[in-house]
């Protein structure tokens, strides 16, 4: 730790937001729009879209044409590069694993995939956005698992609408209770093979097992000054037209337009400062990411939006006489109940025929099959369920590596023809909260900036393993019903964390004795501290979680501003 006195910002802020990803961008927008002078602290460097986005750069323009510099990746990003998006184009959007270490027991592998730059993972995210329903919010209470959510669908529904109207969500209305419809822009098209599978499913299962187009935060027509998608394909490399939702293209410009936003990149927040006399947080201590200089910032309210594990890490590191095990941890729940979605299991097969049909353009979206297990009937082997994501397509030249043959005709076929229609379905399953899936501060390991690193203990439980089995069976059965051939099931045995939906480390609940946050994402113990990223989640549902973080963030911001106005914070 540097011995020099911390730089104290003379500027006074109403609010500090830690993290500029999906949640932090929303907090910055909502707080500034409601009049708060807001300091947004981002641990990583700025992003300049015109310089950093590379979605239209072709493989032949890269040194290794997309193969990547495997030696450099192994040396600096052995964890990050396990995800496909960390490719030769945009490995720069993923953290350096050497500078950002964490630790786990060898028999409990956990993959923590992170982006540290302005916008965080909102640049590389999967853009799938689904509402939760009361099937999800009531599940813990109904089954006596974890603690009850302190909110229900009615509490969050208006906030989902608020978010959807602003970010733009393309999707198809389906009228299903377990996956409420939203405020949709026109849906993207299913392709020929997907239509065939959808129709076969409707014939076999009616409204019990339904295929719809993915609901995606991607514009299918111009929306609030942003251009519609131009279907170039690789969204995770950035989008110069901001046609999908990112903090950089959507919420941060809105926050900046208020002139009440101060964005400070390269600001690594190490702890939340606690004023014992007032029983409130007074601000945060940070380290300048470039100079290593100690910094202190003060504000009336602090929003932690640094991502589930980072926010837990900051709170665990915020020790005081009142909170010797971390700020707001009187319940001992801080850092516990880590969840991630079990996925990477399902089936694939060939959809025969339609040799004279193909797709045009690169649809950055797939299909979705909303949860159908434990919706109306109780499954004998597991609770909760999973949704399918997937899609169909015809392979181009890439199939050549796995197609027998050689010579002029082989080359001609790879240049001119397409492979058969192939379809895959993979499950994204719900993960149950378990107290012993937890993160703690490592006693000695620190990151490049001197902040204690995490030790992560997280494993799948029996329910997650049952879901992974059932995903394969029901995916194969679904493809079979559509007349698919060469059906093959798969279970890639992916480790916790790899779905990049980590959550649960500072859960919301009714009771301060068993939860960290109340029904407004406000720390039970410290009323001017809010946590609105994935840390707040009381259960995981099986839907992709980002839009729920956005909605909860907007809701918490409105609550905090109300309370500030009446002098209650």
């Amino acid at each position: 730790m540097a011995a020099s006195a911390p730089e104290s910002q003379s500027g006074e802020y109403d609010a500090i937001v830690v993290g500029s990803g999906i949640s932090g961008g929303w907090a910055a927008k909502e707080l500034t729009e409601q009049g708060l002078r807001t300091l947004l602290l981002e641990a990583g460097p700025p992003i300049v879209p015109q310089r950093d986005y590379v979605e239209h750069v072709q493989a032949y323009s890269l040194s290794f044409r997309g193969y990547g510099n495997q030696r450099l990746l192994k040396e600096r990003q052995p964890i990050q590069s396990q995800t496909g998006a960390c490719d030769e184009w945009v490995s720069k959007f993923f953290v350096d694993d050497r500078d950002n270490p964490y630790d786990n027991d060898p028999d409990k592998p956990f993959l923590w995939i992170r982006g540290r730059h302005v916008g965080g993972r909102s640049i590389m995210w999967g853009r799938q956005v689904y509402r939760w329903s009361d099937l999800d919010f009531e599940a813990n209470a109904r089954e006596g698992i974890g603690v009850d959510w302190p909110i229900r669908y009615a509490d969050i529904a208006p906030w989902y609408s608020h978010v959807e109207k602003f970010i733009g969500v393309s999707g198809q209305q389906e009228g299903l209770a377990q996956l409420p419809d939203g405020e949709f822009l026109p849906p993207m098209e299913l392709n020929c093979a997907e239509v065939r599978v959808r129709d076969a499913m409707a014939h076999r299962w009616g409204r019990e097992r339904v295929m719809t187009i993915g609901r995606a935060a991607i514009l299918t027509r111009p929306h609030l000054g942003r251009a519609a998608c131009h279907y170039c394909g690789p969204c995770w490399r950035g989008c110069i037209t901001s046609s999908y939702f990112s903090s950089n293209g959507v919420t941060l410009p809105a926050a900046a337009a208020t002139r009440r936003l101060t964005l400070r990149p390269n600001s690594v927040v190490a702890e939340v400062l606690y004023d014992a006399r007032r029983g409130r947080a007074s601000g945060v201590r940070a380290v300048d990411g470039e100079t290593g200089k100690q910094l202190e910032f003060r504000a009336r309210v602090v929003f932690l939006c640094a991502s589930a594990l980072e926010s837990a890490r900051i709170l665990l590191n915020s020790k005081s006489a009142r909170f010797p095990t971390g700020l707001g941890n009187s319940s001992d729940q801080l850092g516990r109940n880590v969840m991630d979605h079990p996925f990477g299991a399902g089936a694939e097969g060939t959809i025969p025929g339609m040799a004279d049909r193909k797709t045009f353009g690169h649809r950055p979206n797939g299909i979705y099959v909303p949860r159908f297990r434990n919706v109306t009937e109780k499954h004998p082997r597991f609770v909760r369920g999973y949704g399918f994501q997937g899609g169909a397509g015809r392979a181009g030249w890439e199939r050549g590596a796995y197609t027998r043959g050689f010579g002029a005709e082989f080359k001609r076929a790879l240049l001119k023809d397409l492979g058969p229609w192939q379809m895959w379905l993979g499950g994204w399953g719900e993960c149950l909260p378990r107290a012993d899936n937890r993160v703690t501060l490592h006693p000695t390991l620190r990151d490049k900036w001197g902040v204690p690193a995490l030790h992560i203990d997280c494993t799948w439980g029996p329910n997650e393993r049952e879901l992974l089995k059932d995903m394969q069976i029901s995916a194969a059965e679904t493809l079979e019903a559509a007349g698919a051939t060469d059906i093959r099931t798969f279970n890639d045995d992916l480790k916790p964390g790899f779905c990049i939906h980590e959550m649960g480390t500072a859960r919301m609940g009714w009771d301060a004795k068993t939860s960290v946050l109340n029904r407004w994402n406000q720390a039970h113990d410290v009323p001017n501290v809010f946590v609105t990223d994935g840390a707040c989640m009381t259960s995981s549902a099986n839907q992709n979680p980002s839009m729920t973080y956005m909605a909860l963030t907007a809701r918490a911001c409105h609550y905090a501003v109300q309370k500030l106005k009446v002098g209650e914070l």
Binding site: R65, R357, G405
Partner: protein
């Protein structure tokens, strides 16, 4: 419409400093151009010996020969593969690749008394037929990939890896990707079901 026209049309970049919008592409591409120029310069390869290079080029030429369109040798797949071996590939993968070439030549020697590149054309083709008949017809699962890394390298395995790299190197080369396939970078729309 090329990338520049597209950016100007959609994002109004023409009102900014000319060329600014192209910085990302230009920076990344300029660096790549240096790497590619280095790979092309001179005759010396970084890793492949003349004998190994002859084996790679021989197989590449049979897999994707020159016809009415350019072939694998014409776009220099051997030089790109050598670049991967020299600057990118992890040591165990590199060793396995080179061992694969050795096994293919050993098979050729035992059958025809000469390494593959020096064998008669009909013998070259019949050995490739035999190796190709064992080619896996789908990508390995993560578990299979893990297991493969510990299996001994056979001529069949060596051939499968080389075929993957030759196909990749050929279709990602600029003359092929841009000159022959030329898929639109900015399609502008998505149609789920059109005629081939």
């Amino acid at each position: 419409m090329d990338r520049r026209q597209f950016l100007e049309a959609i994002a109004g970049f023409s009102t900014l400093v000319p060329g600014l919008a192209l910085l990302p592409a230009l920076e990344q591409q300029a660096f790549a151009a240096q790497v590619h120029a280095r790979a092309r310069a001179g005759t010396a390869l970084g890793t492949l010996t003349p004998a190994q290079d002859a084996t790679v080029s021989c197989i590449a030429g049979i897999l994707l020969p020159e016809s009415d369109t350019v072939g694998a040798r014409g776009v220099g797949v051997n030089r790109f593969i050598d670049l991967l071996l020299t600057e990118s590939m992890l040591e165990p993968d590199r060793e396995r690749f080179l061992k694969g070439l050795e096994e293919i030549d050993a098979r050729s020697r035992s059958l025809y008394g000469a390494p593959l590149a020096s064998a008669r054309p009909e013998d070259q083709e019949s050995l490739l037929q035999a190796l190709d008949a064992q080619l896996p017809t789908r990508p390995p699962s993560p578990q299979e990939t893990e297991a493969l890394a510990h299996e001994p390298v056979t001529a069949e395995r060596g051939y499968a890896t080389l075929k993957q790299l030759v196909v990749f190197a050929y279709f990602t080369s600029e003359p092929v990707a841009r000159g022959l396939i030329n898929a639109p970078i900015i399609p502008g729309r998505y149609d789920g079901c059109v005629s081939t």
